[in-house]
Amino acid sequence: MANLDASFSALADPTRRAILARLALGEATVMELAAPFDMTQPAISRHLKVLEGAGLITRRVEGTKRPCRLAPAAVDEIDQWLGMLRKALSANYDRLDDVLAAMKTEQ
């Protein structure tokens, strides 16, 4: 449960979700992760610490760099996101049902 809570609060932040989306493309360094955001490297590092603490990313040492990658827990998380995407799409199609019903009435 503790881990679930940690992962939930880690994912409550849009920057951290965007970082995970970027890592879904493959391993990246702090500098590469900071590039698309208007944020300093220390700010990104703080987000990475939260993600690492929640078990969503792992980091390895390569010289002076510490590249990040998705942890298996994040891959599971991504499966759950699939469920949320399904929900968002479903909401669109439920609205489309109403649009189609209205088109029928107009005829």
Binding site: R17, A24, S90, L100, M103
Partner: protein, 155 residues
Amino acid sequence: MSKMTLKTEGDRHVVVTRRFAAAPEAVYRAHTEPALIQKWLLGPDGWTMPVCINEARPGGKIRYEWSNGEGAGFYVTGEYLELVPFSRLVHVERMHMPHATPDNHIETTFTPDGIGTLMTMRMTLPDAATRTAMLSTGMEHGMEASYVRLESTFK
């Protein structure tokens, strides 16, 4: 009742199916006429589509812009490759947030199903990593909606 299915297929595909209680012609029109698209293709609660360009002809442009009314937004651009009125649409699209994502090739078919329509949307991404990134980006918006709803239940 869950009418929609969404699943990944192979390394590069995502397939969505949904049944509608209307003829293929109506469902096709709701996918190609801007005034109709703006009523349903909205995503999370509170979002609108102030700009909707959909030139339903081969080579025609697609541009959808979404806004949450509070300064946040993103847009999709695309081009039609092939259209068979009331039965098949083929187009490519990419999301801009603001950097453009790799092209998503989408084939949408509308098949008569009893008195209604079975819609099948088959997306093809350039590679497995891009598919994962696309799904997680889409999920990012789904999650945003669920967090917004969560917040509103606390107010």
